[in-house]
Amino acid sequence: MNRIIFILVLCLTTLVSWGQAKKPIIMIVPSDIFCVSHGYTTTVNANGKDEVMPDYKKAMQGSDELRMVITKMGAIMSERGFPLKDLEQTLKSIDTQSAEISMMTSKSSSAAIKETPIDVLKRTAKADIIMDIDFNVKRQGPNNYITFVLKGLDAYTNKQVAAATGTGKPSSAASADLLLEEAVLSHMDAFNGQLTTFFNDMFTNGREVTIALRVWDNAGVDFEQSFDYKGTNDQLSFHIENWFTENTVNGRFSTIDATGTMMKFEQVRIPMMFNLNGRDVAMDTRRYINNLSKFLSGPPFNLDNKIYQRGLGEAWLIIGEK
């Protein structure tokens, strides 16, 4: 009996904690191979090279099967407590937003909304977990069958956090839609199980994020410059690494790159919550890197810096000025 009560209390505590923490945004996106094989692509020229890129809007408007899969998966995920962000609706919203921004003027002086190229660059569909899906309707004699690949990718660490692949049962009578629905349904629970494991690990060991440090070209300082901090004379890069050791969950992080002008940290485990005026508040990368920003702004470093957030799980700190 005691054991049952203990498990119930534990479950309840986890649910309450989850309610407070910042939940990752999940979005289903058709894979590149799906878009290319079905012709939902656009060719662009970047730096003198032609590149074929997926055209998600075309895919959403052209494939009934894709819409059906996304809707079905969205319903299942919502039932399991992971509501999805809809790609099609997000793209529409971005278009509308762009039009609204260009039309907006102030009442007294007709000022337009100030927008830097970076602001424009940021106006894209964003998700923390991308569910990358690819499926094919194949034929074997008189039978149709479905093969599909579903990958759950962490957008910031690029890690595959869940996966499901499978082949549906062949049938000569059932329509492709029905076969697809059956194939997806039979694998969704296993996929969701892996996703839950990932989230639980995040809650126990901290959210895993990526942090990069760079310098402005007029900064007059780099990561190889030496500073005397608390009696230790060392290069700035080592002082920063020491800060990460002291401020990550169990001191867990990996220095992926460190040069005179940039440092990149991956698998940085940041706490899920922090205390603000006696209240537990959810932590995100921007809040976390703000502490590093304050550390570097203070003596003996006195380095002005700019925080640039790439999303819930990645932020940059650029040293030299705001």
């Binding site: 662009v44 998600y56 793209l91 762009s98 190229p117 424009v120 569909a125």
Partner: protein, 151 residues
């Protein structure tokens, strides 16, 4: 006596201003003002750029010339302002929707239409982003500061 003094003053004023007025040549084809009139042009090499972006750049050049009181029609006889784009990088992000980005140096040359001699240049580095190539160019050209001095 008063009339004599007034007449002398009028005479003095006229004698001072007449040479000044005559210094400004306004004789038809040799008119100083039209001789230094500058016409903005887009070179053939840039005609593959989106039309909207060409118009935007042309408009910016017209504003610069107009601010200095040297505007001419596009088929003006001698001096032209012609742009040169040095694209430092252009990328397309693999996002939904894809975003085009341009980082480029815009060089504006004042040149002789016939000999090609360049008399003055000014440049500015601009960056732009947008959902289409044209929007990215426009976003970048919008950064051209028409009031800035030559650098």
């Amino acid at each position: 006596m008063k009339k004599l003094l007034f007449g002398a003053i009028i005479l003095l004023i006229c004698s001072v201003y007449t040479p000044v007025i005559q210094g400004q040549n306004s004789m038809g084809a040799s008119d100083d003002f039209s001789r230094i009139a500058i016409a903005p042009t887009i070179p053939d090499a840039m005609k593959n750029m989106p039309k909207g972006a060409q118009d935007m750049l042309l408009g910016k050049m017209r504003q610069i010339i107009g601010l200095n009181g040297m505007s001419a029609l596009d088929n003006a006889p001698l001096f032209i302002m012609t742009p040169q784009l040095m694209v430092l990088s252009n990328d397309v992000t693999p996002t939904a929707p894809p975003i085009y980005t341009y980082n480029m140096e815009v060089v504006l040359n004042i040149a002789d239409r016939y000999t090609g001699n360049v008399y003055a240049t000014a440049s500015q580095q601009v960056k732009g982003a947008g959902r289409t190539e044209q929007l990215a160019y426009n976003n970048a050209f919008n950064e051209i500061n028409i009031m800035s001095t030559i650098n």
